[in-house]
Symmetry: C2
Subunit: 145 residues, 2 copies
Amino acid sequence: MADKSPSSQPPRTTAAVEDYLERIRELIQKKGYARVVDIAAELKISQASVTTMIQRLDAEGLVKYEKYRGMVLTTAGEEVAKRIAHRHELLTNFLRQFGIDETVIAHDVEGMEHHVSPETFSAIEALSRYLTANPTVVAKIKKDL
Amino acid sequence: MADKSPSSQPPRTTAAVEDYLERIRELIQKKGYARVVDIAAELKISQASVTTMIQRLDAEGLVKYEKYRGMVLTTAGEEVAKRIAHRHELLTNFLRQFGIDETVIAHDVEGMEHHVSPETFSAIEALSRYLTANPTVVAKIKKDL
Ligand SMILES: [Mn+2]
Ligand SMILES: [Mn+2]
């Protein structure tokens, strides 16, 4: 699997950077564009803070930002955002199998997704696949909750 | 399970606070006391930053700190530290079943442990118990990694 080779790993990013890129990607997919005002609303922080962070992401080559024209993700930014979206989806599907409350899942996944290395991702992926294919196993585990 | 009742949940704490309490508890268990210099070494930050944080933890009633005499955890601080230690242990044992590298496990667990709610904890606990009791299932999942 490509994920397993250290050389294929994108640059290290903080949880805050990953959350920004994740939100920008979602906004672009949903609305066709991402504006500072929308990101501020999604992340519940001030527009001034968002602008500062977007300028930093631009300097780091993760976002291309032009005032009044909006922003796009660079190839590197898109790669990070996609990786986080994958982890988000994986962890959500994993926890859903146990019937955990959706609000709790959303909260836990938003935090956990930033700390899942490729190895752990692969393990949870294989585990999730097994559980999906074996509902009687899941039923047994849920009875023991 | 006591964990499931919202009223039994300790006060909300940040990942940084949880890491401090976790380290202080470990130092006291290992050496009988926790000093600023040791915490600074463990968390790889300056003694000045540690002192500032310890004063904050003291003000929040999580630590009792007396300059030159050291610090102890309050009942509330001990409760938070124990909760994190439990999550740390649970996640470590869970990931170990898949033969993930110990360095990777340590890294992922240090981050993930701060984002596991009681519901998710219970699910992973039941799952881990099932996997421990069913090594053939684990072998199948590992083959599919
Ligand atoms: Mn997410
Ligand atoms: Mn820990």
